[in-house]
């Protein structure tokens, strides 16, 4: 039965790749995949050459890079792997039909765990494969190494998933099912950030200050030698892989077995803990979820204010948005720890670092990309309300910018206070970069959002994906570059913040215009 389920999943995946028979989508997928493979191969080749050309530092950097990749991937999985697993196990679309079929619950669970693990592991494979291949080539490893490396990567990916399921089962008694995923996302974020902060706190003597390498990049790679990583699954995965690559089989087997035992044990606990949930069925909750009271929504206002009030209520009650905001706030707790080491950024000399800039832009982008799909399946009403399309965008801009500004201000103030003394310019720049991100997010959502009212699940998603992330990166870092130039060359002529303000308002205006254009021409998008 498990084989049948896996075959069915494979067919679904192939269907997604084939794009419902649309040749354009298939070609695009192949193109993107080829570009990614090319980029990763080039990176791996460069790394291999570097390791060969510099026998003193090369191998050490390579090993540190492998370790860092494992650790980075593990932390990343803690951020979103937890919620991915919870969604797959508890909320996936096919769960209702699977549980109604004569299939043993154990098979459904194993299938779902495999599915969640695969979804988690695919990213790990994508980013770990080049460095693992290079490590193998560098050591001249046997084919057995590659098998062990693949298994280790897979096992490491099962652990955050199993943890997510266990945590979800434990708190499912206290948290409404509809909010389970959001809570898990927040929990995962705080675990990841807590681990990072703890590592920063307790690994000082091993941090960049003690590195024997000269450059920032070398210091960063040396983070891998922090002792705390030895106690993480990613540390065991690294040791197993390195042992297999260098021919140290006892070490490889020891850590491989530790990973197997931990993975199987956690998966078993997850299986037991979900028994009650599956046995209880997956009926939707009937009880009304709690409401956030918004005062003053009585009739008699203008249509614009009606839209603003509606969006504020939806925003306040949208668990996804609130979850996201909490995650972003968790990120902003990291603000004082990242990128800067004193009064100004050590790379550019600016009062704000590129990392903080990207944080702010990504945060604004997340809010912007959520605004249009906030109304979910009721969004079509904007298309038929008198003046609906114009007012819709205006209210999104008002509510979104208000929310972005408040949270960016909060984060920037934490940064400002933590720096003792900070530079007030960094507060303004954080807000302006969050506006830039908001503008990009809004426009991308308008153009790439899934406005498919006939497909409720798809409508829930904001748009963009890769395009969104890439655009925010480009615009955020581009804006940072412009800020650098403004501070360096124009500060005697004009306050550099004015230049960033003009840039952010320009991007907001362009975003508003292109979004309005899209909305004006938007119509129902049935799937035929």
């Amino acid at each position: 039965m498990l084989a049948a389920l896996l075959k069915y999943r494979l067919l679904m995946m192939l269907g997604a790749v084939r794009g419902g028979g649309k040749i354009g989508k298939t070609l695009l997928f192949i193109f993107v995949f080829a570009m990614l493979a090319f980029a990763l191969s080039s990176f791996a080749y460069g790394l291999l050459k570097f390791a060969e050309l510099d026998p003193e530092r090369g191998p050490r950097i390579l090993e540190n890079l492998v370790a860092l990749s494992f650790h980075g991937m593990f932390l990343l999985l803690l951020f979103w792997g937890l919620s991915q697993a919870v969604f797959t196990i508890f909320f996936s679309d096919d769960l209702a039909i699977l549980l109604s079929l004569p299939i043993p619950r154990r098979d459904i669970f194993i299938y779902k765990v495999l599915e969640a693990t695969f979804l988690n592991a695919r990213v790990s494979f994508l980013f770990l494969t080049p460095v693992l291949v290079v490590l193998g080539l560098h050591h001249g490893s046997s084919p057995g190494y590659y098998c062990i490396a693949a298994l280790v990567t897979f096992l490491m990916a099962t652990i955050p998933g199993a943890l997510g399921i266990i945590i979800a089962s434990l708190i499912s008694n206290h948290v409404p099912r509809a909010r389970l995923k959001g809570v898990i996302t927040v929990v995962g974020s705080f675990i990841g950030i807590g681990m990072w902060a703890a590592m920063r706190q307790f690994s000082g003597q091993f941090s960049s200050g003690s590195a024997d390498f000269g450059s920032e990049a070398m210091k960063t790679a040396n983070i891998a030698s922090w002792p705390i990583f030895s106690y993480l699954p990613s540390g065991w995965a690294y040791k197993a892989t390195l042992g297999a690559a260098s021919g140290d089989l006892p070490v490889a087997l020891l850590y491989f077995l530790i990973l197997v035992v931990l993975s199987v044990a956690l998966t078993f606990v997850a299986f037991v803990s979900t028994a009650r949930y599956y046995a209880g069925g997956i009926a939707e909750e009937v009880a009304a979820p709690s409401r956030v009271a918004i005062g003053g929504f009585a009739p008699g206002g203008s249509p614009l204010m009606a839209h603003v009030k509606r969006d504020m209520i939806l925003f306040a009650r949208e668990s996804g948005v609130m979850t996201q905001s909490l995650v972003m706030m968790a990120f902003f707790l990291l603000y004082p720890f990242v990128g800067t080491s004193g009064h100004s950024d050590e790379i550019s000399g600016l009062v704000i670092s590129p990392v903080a800039t990207l944080f702010a832009a990504f945060f604004g982008g997340q809010v912007g990309s959520r605004m249009l799909t906030l109304e979910r399946l009721a969004f079509w009403r904007n298309l038929i309300n008198p003046n609906g399309r114009q007012l819709t965008l205006a209210s999104k801009l008002i509510v979104g910018l208000l929310f972005t500004t408040i949270l960016a201000l909060g984060a920037a103030m934490i940064h400002y206070v933590a720096k003792k003394p900070g530079d007030i310019d960094s507060v303004f720049l954080t807000i302006l970069f969050s506006w830039i991100g908001f503008g990009v997010g809004l426009a991308i959502c308008a153009f790439w959002g899934n406005f498919k009212w006939d497909h409720p699940k798809r409508m829930l998603k904001g748009g963009g994906g890769f395009i969104y992330a890439f655009s925010i990166m480009v615009v955020g870092l581009g804006g940072y570059g412009l800020t650098y130039l403004a501070y360096r060359y124009l500060s005697s002529l004009i306050n550099p913040i004015m230049i960033v303000a003009v840039l952010s308002l320009g991007i907001l205006s362009i975003s508003y215009m292109v979004s309005a254009l899209k909305l004006t021409n938007m119509e129902w998008t049935p799937d035929v």
Binding site: V286, A287, A288, P289, R291, F297, A298, P299, G300, G301, S302, P303, M305, A306, H307, K309, R310, I313, L314, R317, E318, E375, R376, L377, A378, W380, R381, L383, I384, N385, P386, N387, G388, W453, E523, W524, P526, V528
Partner: protein, 254 residues
Amino acid sequence: MTMLLAQNLSKSYGKLQAVDDVSLQVAAGEIVGFLGPNGAGKTTTLKMLIGLLRPDKGRVNIGGFDLNDEPVRARRRIGYVPDVPNLYEKLTPLEFFHFTADVFRLDKETAQKRIADLIELFDLGEHGKKLISSLSHGTKQKVSLAAAVLHRPEVLLLDEPTGGLDPRATRKIKDIMLELSRSGCAILFSTHILEIAENMCNRLYIINKGKIVADGPVDRLKETTKEGSTLEELFIELTGGSEYDEVVKYLSGR
């Protein structure tokens, strides 16, 4: 007086011609049924009439205003109830009514009176302050209908309004439609329930494969078939359906 006039509407999705040269009209106070099998083009036509879809060809006029040239004026006159009540799940019915009242620029006193009346009419009193996401399908449908008539539309378009409703709610919706038509509202609604169409409608349009295959008063349409035919037999004859005989035979083991 013609309140809804659609001329030569066509809409295609790629190679699929969903609606092909459809023309229809509804006068003030008239209730017109829009019948057709699944996938015949009913919903696509209704969405073009409300402005959710842009026709490839043809025009729509609402109460004297062209939907394409004067969309705001035209939309002020329409109420629309979709087949699936996709509402703002995180609003309460009361908040949703307030929002709708403001969008249609009703003054405060009028809005509050009408909202109170509609809540009573649709038995929504106990649900007024619950989130819409927690309501049953039938209650959501009632909320959707109440919001559609809140501004007293001159043209009401309903896409299978009785779907998922219990007999009591169905009866209520029928009564409300009759009441609205008596006050001069032009009503066009699609339905699969032929009994409702036969009892309530002044006229019918039957659509199949994107084309109008019959239109006129129910009695006159029945006259076109053999004597004593029911509306169901007429519908099957016009839209096909004999292919289902094989399915029935298979299921009954014959």
